[in-house]
């Protein structure tokens, strides 16, 4: 199983990674990217069985010489759009801490994405460090789509 996780926040990435390792009994390769650009770059180059991505991500990787440019509030969605335009079909799950994006609720975005990217988009998981539900939600999405 080869999974790409696009997530810039290590405090979120680490629990997600640990959870995936546990879920797949260590039988999983996880690639971690931290920005829209680096995520897209590897999606062009390699194939993945599953993509887990955050909604809000920086445009470029943050380095000493680069502040990463703008943070893309709906960067996860842009990645799905770009994949769709380039015919990159990878099962994808969005995992986010936001409940809304500039007045649009996550539920609404989820519904729209489901309609727009029928072939690849599996759903959205609401992540909150203080809650446990995200694990169940993520597990359920993975299992019902026969990815585990």
């Amino acid at each position: 199983m080869k999974i790409l996780v696009i997530e810039d926040d290590d405090n979120k990435y680490n629990p997600v990674r640990n959870f995936l390792i546990e879920l797949y009994n260590n039988n999983v390769t996880i690639i971690h990217k931290k920005s829209f650009q680096s995520g897209m770059e590897i999606l062009y180059a390699e194939k993945f069985d599953l993509l887990i991505l955050d909604m809000s991500i920086p445009n470029f990787d943050v380095t000493e010489l680069d502040d990463g440019g703008d943070t893309l509030d709906r960067g996860g969605e842009f990645i799905l759009e770009e994949m769709d335009r380039e015919n990159i079909i990878t099962k994808s799950i969005i995992i986010t801490q936001y409940e809304e994006f500039k007045g649009v609720s996550l539920a609404e975005i989820d519904k729209n994405l489901m309609e727009e990217f029928k072939e690849s988009y599996l759903g959205c998981v609401s992540y909150n460090t203080g809650y446990d539900n995200w694990k169940n939600e993520l597990e359920q999405l993975i299992k019902t789509n026969n990815l585990c």
Binding site: S56, G69, D73, F78, Q97
Partner: protein
């Protein structure tokens, strides 16, 4: 009869207090009973019944008592009875009011003043009178006269708290430089200070912001006004009647209201009352057969605009209060493509100013938006005039004609005469026709009537031009949804109306809508973009966002020609998500087989130049560029590409060179900052100042012009201006102090400071709350919705000493690790689980409380968070702002400089908040968390006394250590972004400003000999100012030499330190043909001005003045100096800047 006897018995009963009896009459009797009894009550009781409703002095206004409770019907009944009782005075007032307005509008100030004085002496003083007096004085004598008058009336002692507020705002709204926007904003600021349930807030909204007033809690306005003079109350009631009767579903079915209106109609001669009664009964309407008016209609309809103009010039003098005449006058000028000409005898009048702005507005040119604001500002100043209400109604309908909910009927109510155009107000074609039939032998009426029939059978009259039929027919077909038929007619109508913008605009809007309904998207896009390039004002009413979404999302660009540059321009102009703009941009670039805009150069010649400019300027933004995958490796490469685009734009579009130069400056600075940064920026505190300055703060500029103008006036006046002292005023309204104490507490506020305060608040609010660029936006995305919970909970999660919550049930889950590991029995496990859940809840409570309540902005606006830690409230630090004004801003004469200074100050305030926040995190939050950990550890030791649980306690200890690192990390987020605060050496800033100059003109590079002998580190906050300063000097070097001579120019910069002063010396040679004598004089003159306050105020944009401002005001030391010497065909600029505030310690 019995009722009167009963009442009379009570009236003359000595045991009964008459005042209470009349209160009961008002509150407990119905309208008819009141009417019956009041007619019979002897006049001797009038004072007790109505109070002083004809006050003869301003101080007596409002010296009456109100009812204890607020009730709409009670107040209306009472006012109607008062009006009926004093109908003679009201009739006099109505006649005189119209006469006053007519005279004032046409500049007959002596006559208008006499009428006003007559009303005030023979009828009564009133708030209407104060407002009108200020309007009179302003137009007759100018701003100094109104400041003086305002000063006088503010000295009087009134018992009515509304007196001070109303007089302040009557004064404020007629000032020349107070736009309707800034007026409403200032009202809003003060409204925020009033409690929501304050009755006055409703009344002030009605009285001071009439055009926006919605009559939602009108009973409160009535209640406040119940103690006011009858004049004010009558005006209030008729506004209410016009409002009630204007509702789209209005039917005159309220028997009491009809009854009352009919009674008023019998006694008062007011056209508004007649019109209210006639609105739902067309047959009762009696048209005033005014031949002049009918002729005007027909001349216009027949296209005889020259004759219409001649006739209107005469009529406007006779009947200026009928706004439809002004509208027809201006429209006729446009039909003839004529510049605005002042109708004879109307020079320098309010009416002429209105006509001038209306002409500009209907011209729909570049200045149309500004003209609309100017026009609305004039109308706002005279909002009590019938004319203003009619014209506002026209403007509202210009934009919202199709929206019945907000279609304004005010023009109908507030015009004395009936207008032929009023037929539109009737709801059925039958009623419309019946109304038009009343205009016998009027060609215009027949024309409008013919359009109400089947348009397929429409027979054109020879008397009406074909273009007029075409125009109306096209619009009606589209309105009826017959798009196939409408399309060719609209296309033809568009061609016919090319020179008459206000008609062309209407056709354009409809044709666009028609194309979209027919799904002819390419045609719609081309129509939009081609016209946008000609005149973007004509498209303001076209809603393109939905269309862009349909093209991008629903159809995924499949039904439009993406190889046409118009598509990406259209999408970019639609204010749609960047991702859609990017897709259209990307598809267009693909069609040219290029990857980035700078590779398009070989196609430049074949692309329409204007379109290419819009494409490069608007579509190719950094946001769009940075979305290109595998094209740019870093955000720096994106900035470099945008910089190159700007260099191309400077060549293609030299008219807008300043805009591109400004962006190049910013891009160069950003690139240099990236180079200077030595570490990853961990701050999450950010405001996009460049975005703010280039978009939202442009609106504040008008306020700055006013600030400068007022300061000039006050400088030469012998009196002091009084500001509105808000805090005492609020206390007065809430009853905390009486009016005497209020007057004493009112500081003799420097009026200029009051204006500065408003400017400051405008800039502050953009800085804080701009939804694209402001602090709150970044706090929300980077902190509140970001990683704060993850960061602070991380150590607890890793050590597993807290549990998670179930989202649906909201309860904490059992721990699954320790209970097994420690092999706890049931009893112990229960206690353990209870404690760990309790601990988890407490920790989350601290984190969430911090996130949701503390990381918020607090101002004086009650809608902001009361517990917010970012403290920007104006009224908390008035004295501090006065210091800011006195020390840093009062002599600034340049808007950009003021903005930068205020922004710097806002950053200082932010720094203060950030320091407190970091302190609160490092101590408050840290202490709370550590205390909870300690308590948890103690509790666990008690519970697990006999259990081997070393591992658990080790983890608690680990958590205690690790969470402190997390807290440290969070505290670092609350530092101002390094991007704008990187400390620097002087070489950095020389490189940056030189780069900027050379980036603006890359083909002609400037080289300067540098003698730098100064290496100390300067504070990052001063980088921009040093950069600006040097840029001014370097620009001067370029200016002083001939084109193409840059590399040959002998110029040098010397920098060194002497006695804790930074010495900057710039020497450069002058143009060969410079007249040295003249040049010396010019420089001397400039420096003379630099050293005078008025000089600083006068020369807004001179580089030298700007440089001097930076050196004296921004670098904050009065001993700083700048001077220039001209010798040996060279100019030498010497700056001496104290290092006291600038050096990093």
């Amino acid at each position: 009869m019995n009722k009167w006897n009963e009442f009379k018995a009570l009236l003359y009963n000595r045991k009964i207090n008459n005042k209470h009896l009349f209160e009961a009459l008002k509150n407990d009797y119905n309208f008819e009973e009141q009417n019956y009894l009041l007619k019979r009550t002897p006049k001797i009781f009038n004072g007790l019944i109505h109070g002083n409703i004809f006050p003869k002095e301003y101080e007596s206004i409002g010296r009456n008592d109100r009812s204890a409770s607020v009730n709409l019907q009670v107040e209306i009944n009472w006012i109607v009875n008062e009006i009926l009782k004093y109908s003679n005075e009201i009739n006099d007032f109505i006649v005189n009011k119209i006469e006053f307005e007519n005279n004032l509008l046409v500049g007959k100030y002596k006559e208008s003043e006499d009428i006003l004085n007559k009303i005030e002496s023979e009828i009564s003083k009133s708030y209407w009178g104060i407002e009108s007096k200020l309007i009179q004085l302003k137009n007759e004598k100018g701003i100094e006269a109104i400041i003086e008058y305002y000063h006088q009336i503010r000295e009087l002692e009134s018992r009515d708290p509304a007196y001070y507020f109303l007089s302040s705002y009557f004064f404020y709204k007629i000032e020349d430089d107070v736009t309707i926007i800034s007026y409403q904003k200032e009202l809003n600021n003060l409204r925020n200070q009033l409690e929501d349930d304050n009755d006055y807030s409703e009344y002030f909204e009605y009285r001071l912001n009439h055009f926006e007033y919605k009559f939602n809690n009108f009973e409160r306005s009535l209640w406040v006004a119940s103690i006011h003079p009858i004049i004010d109350k009558y005006l209030l009631l008729r506004d209410y009647i016009a409002h009630i009767c204007s509702k789209p579903d209005f039917q005159l079915t309220d028997n009491l209201l009809i009854f009352q209106l009919k009674l008023i109609e019998k006694k008062i001669s007011d056209p508004l009352i007649n019109k209210a009664l006639q609105l739902t009964n067309v047959s009762e309407i009696q048209i005033n057969k005014d031949k002049n008016l009918f002729d005007i209609y027909d001349l216009y309809t027949q296209g005889k605009y020259g004759k219409a103009i001649n006739k209107l010039s005469d009529l406007l003098i006779i009947n200026p209060n009928n706004a439809s005449l002004s509208i027809l006058y201006v429209k006729s000028l446009h039909h003839l493509n004529r510049e605005y000409t002042i109708p004879k005898k109307l020079e320098n009048t309010v009416l002429s100013s209105v006509l001038f702005q209306l002409h500009k507005f209907l011209g729909r040119g570049e200045d149309s938006g500004e003209a609309l604001i100017e026009l609305m500002t004039i109308l706002n100043g005279i909002q009590s005039f019938e004319f203003a209400k009619q014209l506002m109604s026209f403007l509202e309908n210009f934009f919202y004609e199709k929206n019945e909910e907000i279609f304004s009927k005010k023009a109908y109510f507030f015009t004395k005469e009936n207008n032929i155009f009023d037929y539109k107000l009737f709801n059925s074609n039958e009623n419309k026709k019946e109304y038009l039939k009343k205009y016998k032998n009027v060609i215009t009426a027949d024309f409008f009537s013919s359009l109400l029939d089947d348009l397929d059978k429409l027979k054109e009259s020879k008397e009406v031009p074909h273009e007029r039929y075409l125009h109306y027919k096209a619009l009606l077909l589209n309105e009826r949804g017959e798009y196939e038929k409408a399309e060719p007619v609209l296309e033809e109508a568009l061609k016919c109306s090319e020179n008459i913008n206000f008609i062309y605009e209407k056709i354009l809007v409809n044709l666009f809508e028609c194309y979209v309904n027919l799904e002819k998207f390419d045609k719609a896009i081309n129509l939009y973009v081609d016209n946008y390039l000609k005149n973007s004002n004509l498209l303001k009413q076209v809603e393109i966002k939905k269309v862009a979404i349909a093209i991008a999302k629903t159809h995924r660009f499949k039904n439009v020609a993406t190889n046409d540059i118009n598509v990406s321009i259209f999408i970019a102009l639609s204010d749609i998500d960047t991702s859609n703009i990017y897709v259209s941009y990307n598809l267009f670039l693909k069609s040219l087989s290029v990857k980035k805009p700078t590779e398009m150069d070989k196609y430049f010649a074949s692309i329409n130049r204007s379109k290419l400019i819009v494409f490069l300027k608007t579509v190719c933004s950094t946001k769009v560029l940075s979305r290109s995958v595998l094209v740019f490796k870093t955000s720096i490469q994106v900035l470099e590409e945008r910089l190159l685009i700007n260099q191309i734009l400077i060549k293609l579009d030299s008219d807008n060179q300043d805009d591109y130069s400004r962006e190049i400056t910013q891009l160069t600075r950003d690139l240099n900052v990236q180079k200077r940064k030595k570490e990853i920026d961990q701050s999450k505190i950010y405001v996009d100042e460049f975005g703010l300055i280039n978009t939202e703060l442009k609106q504040v500029k008008k306020g700055f012009d006013r600030y400068r103008n007022i300061s000039e006036i006050l400088k030469y006046s012998s009196f002091e201006g009084l500001g509105i002292e808000a805090s005492s005023f609020i206390k007065l309204l809430s009853g905390e102090i009486d009016s005497k104490a209020y007057q004493e507490s009112v500081k003799k506020t420097d009026y200029q400071f009051t204006i500065f305060r408003q400017l400051y608040i405008d800039i502050r609010d953009k800085f804080l709350f701009s939804d694209k660029f402001g602090l709150d936006y970044y706090l929300s995305t980077r902190i509140r919705h970001g990683t704060i919970e993850g960061q602070l909970r991380r150590s607890f999660n890793n050590t597993r000493i807290i549990t998670n919550r179930n989202k649906e049930k909201g309860i904490y889950l059992d721990d699954t690790l320790w209970s097994k590991k420690l092999e706890l029995n049931e009893q112990l496990n229960e206690k353990f689980q209870e404690k760990i859940k309790d601990f988890s809840e407490k920790i989350d409570g601290i984190i969430l409380g911090f996130k949701n309540e503390c990381v918020q902005i607090k101002t004086e606006d009650p809608n902001t968070s009361a517990k917010g830690w970012f403290e920007f409230g104006y009224y908390y630090h008035t004295d501090v702002y006065q210091k800011l004004y006195v020390n840093n801003c009062q002599f600034i004469s340049d808007f950009d400089e003021l903005v930068l200074t205020v922004l710097n100050y806002l950053w200082e305030l932010t720094e203060i908040s950030l320091k407190l926040i970091r302190n609160a995190i490092n101590h408050g939050i840290r202490d709370m968390i550590l205390e909870e950990i300690d308590n948890f550890e103690k509790d666990m030791r008690d519970i697990l006394e006999d259990v081997d649980c070393k591992d658990l306690f080790t983890q608690i200890t680990n958590c205690r250590t690790s969470v402190q690192k997390d807290i440290d990390k969070v505290a670092v987020w609350f530092k101002r972004s390094k991007s704008f605060d990187v400390d620097f050496i002087i070489d950095d800033v020389i490189a940056s400003s030189l780069d900027t100059i050379n980036n603006i003109d890359p083909d002609n590079k400037l080289f300067i000999k540098e003698n730098i002998n100064f290496t100390r580190l300067l504070k990052g906050e001063y980088f921009t100012h040093f950069d600006d300063l040097l840029k001014i000097f370097f620009n001067n070097i370029v200016d002083y030499m001939l084109t193409g001579e840059k590399e040959n120019i002998s110029s040098e910069i010397t920098i060194y330190e002497e006695n804790n002063y930074l010495k900057i010396i710039i020497i450069n040679s002058l143009k060969k043909n410079t007249n040295l004598k003249e040049f010396k004089k010019l420089i001397a003159k400039k420096f003379e001005k630099v050293h005078t306050i008025s000089g600083l105020r006068e020369e807004g944009n001179s580089g030298l003045i700007k440089a001097s401002n930076i050196i004296s005001n921004v670098f904050r030391d009065s001993s700083n100096e700048i001077n220039a010497i001209v010798e040996n065909k060279k100019i030498k600029i010497n700056c001496s800047i104290s290092l006291k505030n600038l050096i990093v310690k």
